[in-house]
Amino acid sequence: MNSQNNTEKVLSVRGLKVYFPVKKGIFKKTVGHVKAVDGVSFDIYRGKTLGLVGESGCGKTTVAKAIVKLVHAHEGEVICKGTDLLTAKPSKLRELRKHIQMIFQDPFSSLDPKMTVGNIIGEAVKFHRPDEDTEKLVLNYMEITGLRGEYYKRYPHEFSGGQRQRIGIARALATEPSIVVADEPVYALDVSVQAKALNLMKNLQQRLDLSYLFITHDLSVVKHISHQIAVMYLGSIVEIFNSKDLKNKTVHPYTRALISSIPSSTPGQKREEIILQGEIPSPMNAPPGCKFQTRCQYKTSICEKVKPELEPINSSSISSAQKSPLGASNLPPVQSHNSVSTMPNRNKHLQGNIPASELTHLVACHNWRSLPFNIDNLHFNIDKKAGNIAP
């Protein structure tokens, strides 16, 4: 493992599609498909975190499940260690499983109530590293996740949510994975416990050189843990950007609306006011063209017809409207994977070995150049930290 190269891709997802058939009638005829995930592509770099944000029903959890093969993906590629997980043979897949582990949302249903903590964590060790001393390894993982050794023989129901989540993390780490898919790992936890869990995850990332795919609906959480953030809406990624750009440089109307809907941290503080009207349409009959059009106040006629593709924005010259949509075409060409070759050009910029910190800001919106947010010096947040305001 060459950890010095921080631009190494540990996981590449290309054109991932997950459709669930909708069946009706006595003979269970398929009458349509719910396009839960409809062409999602991204990369995860070694030691970095990609945050995947979206509202419920946007398909973010389905992406996670498709990557770890808990649901069957319709189309696309998930490349880890040079192998496509989606087409890998069962024996090879079992071998690859240990590189990608998952942390689950619900700390109560994710631990087998009939097993002791030691057995829960030890299960993975026994399976993937049968020659090693299970108990010693388990105790080691318990120690690095902040669980006391005396918990080894206790049952999950004796623990609080935060501690259970630590057990879940320890179990995920026990196979020595390089990627951890975390599906809303702090959602069910109390505020003060959330902070602890996030700090632990950050700490472990540095210590073990882990990469995270961090799935959440909470922008404040994702900003803290992620290096890059991808915003999903109805099965597609609408914007990918560096997390430091979240507040001031994002352009997609949906991203802006998400940001504005976060309650302010102190009373009296004002955010830009974009309250989205309506709710997410059903993924079964998503509108043609841009999926966000039903709630977008900047909709134009093209949005109703053509589905916008992700295109790069150079974040340093955000106001330059003349930037070519395929501005990244000087990057290394697409490797010839079977299904990638049929994919449109939009994935080109994702292929090269760009340093993660300089990843192009990508947005899927026809009108991003004319949007009001697209002005570098416009700051929506009156930054007033606690104590600075005179009563």
Partner: protein
């Protein structure tokens, strides 16, 4: 702590005791009964010792395993405890039958036909001069033995089918459940008569019929709870680790579906005993001269005026056994239902 072990030992004890009882129903093989008796007494002593010591530990710590919680709830439930004690007593009576009564259940005493309660025949004799008490004890032995064996068989097959249907779902589920539905559509009594008519009577066939007739209930309940457990994240976590389906079923699914299995099993023992008694009453079950509670009852109804004891004794015994098993099963269910509270 060996809480779970303790519960398992307890079940193992009851089941093995009854199984052994049915293996050696013949009064002559005394030494086997003796051996079992010694063994059981030892096990019971050990268990009570373990419980006692556990209570002592419990007084100082708050840590509780699931098994212990269940045990505590069960012990708190007075009806369940009472019925458990009755069941243990009945099993001891059944196992030790040859030592308790001096009479052979098959021995006819033509000099004492249809007698009342006396010092030599504690509960009187029947129309053929056989000791009712002895017959009753051996009847319990047979009934419980067959009942438990049938339920164990039933549980094993039903659980297996339910597991397969629930875990794999889809076509497997469809095939298994539709077949079971067809099987279930055949009326039980009709099936029993048909099988007995075709293959003749016998204990083995009786057990087979009784255990196969109730498959649907088991399979359906197990299937339901497997489907619930299957959706839990810990099963997903095991899949992500890469553990094979077989091991997931063994390690995660079965332990978490064990409560409905146990409940259903303990509840259906009573029912099965009743069914066997019913079949024997109709002459389809255990064949004379082997003592059976149902047969005794059927015989007794001809002499209701002459000798009431012939009907009352087996009737009350059936009532006691079935009631105890049902109450005990209820207690187990209550204890398991709330296992994750607190």
């Amino acid at each position: 702590m060996n809480n779970i072990l303790k519960i398992k030992t307890f079940y193992l004890f009851i089941i093995s005791a009854l199984l052994l009882a049915v293996i050696s129903p013949k009064a002559e093989i005394d030494y086997i009964s003796y051996g079992i008796f010694a063994l059981l007494t030892l096990i019971i002593l050990l268990i009570s010792l373990a419980i006692y010591r556990h209570k002592k530990i419990n007084a100082t710590t708050i840590i509780k395993g699931t098994g212990e919680l269940v045990w505590r709830r069960l012990a708190k439930n007075r009806t369940a405890t009472a019925s458990m004690i009755i069941l243990i007593l009945l099993s001891f009576l059944a196992i030790l039958a040859p030592f308790i009564t001096p009479h052979d259940p098959l021995e006819t005493d033509w000099g004492a036909l249809s007698q009342g309660i006396s010092s030599s025949h504690w509960l009187g004799t029947d129309d053929m001069g056989r000791d009712i008490f002895a017959r009753n004890l051996f009847g319990i032995r047979v009934a419980m033995g067959i009942g438990v064996t049938a339920v164990v068989l039933n549980t094993l097959i039903g659980t297996l089918l339910g597991l397969l249907a629930g875990y794999y779902g889809g076509k497997t589920d469809n095939v298994i459940m539709r077949l079971l539905e067809i099987w279930n559509a055949i009326p039980f009594i009709l099936l029993a008569i048909a099988v007995m008519a075709a293959l003749g009577t016998g204990i083995g066939k009786l057990i087979l019929i009784v255990s196969l007739s109730n498959l649907m209930a088991f399979a359906r309940i197990i299937r339901g709870s497997v489907m619930t457990v299957r959706e839990f994240d810990y099963v997903a976590a095991a899949k992500v680790i890469g553990i094979k389906d077989f091991h997931i079923i063994i390690r995660h699914i079965i332990p978490n579906c064990i409560s409905p299995i146990l409940v259903l099993a303990s509840l259906s023992i009573g029912e099965t005993i009743l069914v066997i008694a019913g079949l024997s009453f109709l002459g389809l079950g255990i064949q004379p001269p082997m003592p059976s509670l149902g047969g005794m009852l059927s015989n007794g109804q001809q002499f209701l005026h002459e000798n009431l004891l012939m009907s009352i004794v087996p009737g009350v015994t059936i009532l006691l056994i079935v009631l105890s098993f049902n109450l005990f099963g209820d207690g187990v269910r209550d204890a398991l239902d709330s296992r994750l509270e607190s």
